[in-house]
């Protein structure tokens, strides 16, 4: 029986181990492509659909640069950050040549690891400043220098169910302000039972952030001072409270909860970035043709309706051994109109490259959305999006803002909740706080 061949099996295992270990070493050495100077293999870390976009772009790039190859590792989004942080903290080892980072984390990374990433301005990226919207430029630069190449953006919109709106007799075109939407939402709730918006009330604050953005404020102001007590921030929180008091916000659990509410129609509208299109189309296949998009309602008639949520950019870790090649490839990827259109069309990644908007793709109607030209809507929004100042303390600020929101939903007055959050944030980050 097993027991008798104990030692034999063990010996076998150990020898296999040694063999396997030896053979890995060899294959990983191969991957590094250190043998010849000519061939260069770039490694990239990205998640999900971005992987496909990179691979396709590389095929194009290779036509002019046959000696450069790409190996993309498909890693879960949150996992990329764990690996990136570990590699940087370990002094810059085990890192790829190219990494995708969401915009709200760029400043955090560059500040925590000042020597960790390549300064792209020094490589000449400044020449492209004009082809990207201002807010994207601000997000990808630290102290005026580019550290990331803008990729996709998340211009916001209210994704709504046209059939539910019809049932309640509400016309999306007539909604101009949040107060308008409040009234409409009440009607919809009565007629269809569906809530106005989904929100993980106690664990995430995307709606608050979108509102802040459209109002031209954020957790911090452009000097990095804590701005949570700004009257506009209070205005946004007040509005959220109004919706909650009217019973219009559906409390859902995390991302899964939002998707669930989208699929089963228990919410009539979902405010999110353009990238949410992918989720709706993937998960709510039964509702094909029953969707539309309108811009975020303004706070006052004629006020700003443009905001951004999400979006990511490409960075090059300084530990890369092929910085020039990586730069060339990413430069190609980020600034070539056709590549960006490909990413959009095939993978739903909304480009930041302004020149991309002038194309058929953006001028056509989308069947899933009843033929509405949703991409045109999002594209037109881009130039008006204010910059959100994340700073390197974004993670801590997010934590405190969510707590403030939770306090508000639990009955605290918005002004007080935000003041307390600002104070806590001040203690944790040692930043100055704006007082009004």
């Amino acid at each position: 029986m097993f027991r008798r061949y104990w030692k034999g099996i063990l010996l076998m295992m150990m020898s296999v181990l040694v063999l396997a270990a030896c053979s890995d070493k060899q294959s990983s050495a191969d991957n590094k492509g250190e043998q010849s100077d000519e061939k260069v293999v770039l490694t990239a870390w990205a998640w999900n659909v971005n992987v496909g976009a990179l691979n396709e772009a590389m095929k194009e790039f290779q036509k002019d640069h046959p000696n450069i190859e790409l190996k993309v590792e498909d890693i879960g989004r949150l996992d990329v950050y764990d690996k990136l942080s570990t590699g940087l903290a370990a002094g810059g080892t085990g890192l790829p040549d190219i990494v995708l980072v969401e915009d709200d984390r760029i400043h955090g990374y560059v500040n925590a690891f000042p020597k960790g990433f390549v300064n792209l301005s020094e490589k000449g990226f400044d020449q492209y400043a004009s082809v990207f919207p201002q807010f994207k430029k601000d997000l990808t630069s630290v102290d005026g220098k580019f550290y990331a190449m803008p990729f996709d953006a998340g211009p916001t919109g209210m994704f709504y169910r046209t059939d539910l709106f019809e049932q309640a007799g509400v016309k999306a075109e007539e909604i101009e302000t949040w107060d308008d939407f409040l009234t409409a939402a009440k009607k919809i709730k009565e007629a269809t039972g569906s809530f106005a918006m989904p929100l993980d009330k106690f664990k995430d604050d995307p709606i608050f952030r979108m509102m802040l953005n459209q109002l031209g404020v954020y957790y911090f102001d452009k000097d990095g001072k804590i701005d949570l007590t700004n009257p506009k921030a209070i205005q946004a929180m007040d509005m959220l409270k109004k919706f909650d008091d009217a019973g219009l916000i559906k409390d859902v659990d995390g991302w899964n909860g939002v998707v669930s509410a989208t699929v089963d129609g228990s919410v009539a509208t979902i405010p999110f970035g353009a990238w949410y299109y992918g989720t709706i189309v993937d998960q709510a296949k039964d509702t094909n043709g029953k969707w539309g998009v309108f811009l975020l309602p303004a706070f006052e008639k004629g006020g700003n309706r443009a905001a951004n949520l999400g979006g990511s950019s490409w960075m090059i870790p300084a530990s890369s051994k092929h910085v020039d090649e990586a730069y060339k490839f990413l430069e190609f990827f980020s600034t070539t109109k056709d590549i960006q259109l490909m990413a959009m069309e095939k993978y739903g990644l909304f480009p930041s490259l302004s020149s991309a908007y002038d194309s058929d793709l953006f001028n056509n109607g989308v069947p899933f959305f009843g033929g509405q030209k949703i991409w045109e809507l999002f594209a037109n929004e881009m130039k008006d999006i204010p910059t959100a100042y994340y700073t390197n303390d974004y993670a801590i600020a997010l934590d405190e803002a969510i707590k403030a929101q939770a306090d508000v939903f639990n009955g605290k007055e918005p002004k007080k909740a935000l003041e307390e959050a600002a104070k806590r944030l001040k203690d944790r980050t040692k930043r100055e706080m704006n007082t009004y």
């Binding site: 027991r3 270990a21 490694t43 999900n48 590792e73 498909d74 996992d79 998707v259």
Partner: protein, 268 residues
């Protein structure tokens, strides 16, 4: 009457334990959005094959399965031997430094793994072991939990038997392998299961230590299915179901050792 009560309680408990797994299976047989819709029925859907095929495209099931199996099995065998040997020494011998060394092992269990990830990573990079099986198997071979568990069980083994064997002229290895171990089958089986399980479900370290998709183990591969918005839950659930099968098999194979392995038989 009592017996029926017993069976009912156990069955209810078993159902509660099984339910989430069953739901995952249902999810694996349906297309993505269905997991969330209210009309999700409790009978399996028809998309299992499709989901598995898609999953294979996304992560390469056979490679991932091989990685997980190879790493987990090798780890379990080697670690079991190493830890049982140490446990034997701690339980049955008196030697200088015994309690100190054991205490150090115990203390190391108390350190949260997030704290040691970065230095361990640095070390693996220095050895050149990043992205190899070695990096996955070696770090935790001396698994204090296993040493602790085996020691606990070995304490109960009668010293008289060992002494008797020594007097008879048997060497230490022989005593260890032929006398002590065979009567520790339940404990060995339990420890083997835990070692296998630990390595099979290990996520953070394999995530950090390995960067190429072809070296992924199951947990890491499954996690890679979670991009920002386009998640195929059907695939995820198919992956989850597949990932659980080997470990169930391993468990079933070993758990029969939990039958009475009476100490008495050794005396005879």
């Amino acid at each position: 009457m009592k017996k029926i009560g017993l069976y009912v309680t156990l069955t209810v408990g078993a159902l509660i334990s099984l339910f989430p797994f069953y739901w995952a299976f249902i999810g694996a047989t349906n297309e993505s959005g269905k997991l969330f819709s209210k009309q999700l029925s409790f009978t399996p859907g028809t998309k299992l094959i499709e989901n598995v095929i898609n999953l294979n495209e996304s992560i390469g099931i056979s490679r991932v399965m091989f990685n997980s199996l190879f790493v987990s099995l090798t780890y379990t065998c080697v670690s079991l031997l190493v830890c049982t040997m140490a446990a034997y020494a701690f339980a049955k011998f008196e030697f200088k430094g015994r309690d100190t060394i054991f205490a150090i092992f115990l203390l190391s269990m108390m350190i949260p793994y997030h704290a040691t990830v970065i230095p361990l990573f640095k070390m693996m990079a220095a050895f050149g072991w990043l992205n190899t099986y070695k990096a996955l198997i070696f770090p935790n071979l001396a698994y204090p939990f296993a040493i602790f568990l085996m020691r606990q069980n070995m304490l109960a083994f009668p010293n008289a038997l060992i002494e008797a064997a020594r007097i008879d002229g048997a060497g230490e290895w022989r005593i260890f392998f032929r006398i002590v171990l065979p009567s520790m089958k339940p404990a060995l089986a339990a420890t083997a299961i835990f070692l296998f399980m630990y390595q099979w479900n290990s996520f953070l370290w394999p995530l950090i230590a390995v960067s190429s998709t072809d070296m992924y183990t199951f947990p890491v591969a499954l996690s890679s299915l979670f991009g920002l918005s386009r998640i195929d839950y059907g695939q995820v659930m198919a992956g989850v179901t597949l990932a659980t099968v080997p470990i169930i098999i391993f468990f079933l194979a070993l758990q029969r050792h939990f039958i009475s392995g009476m100490l008495g038989s050794a005396v005879k």
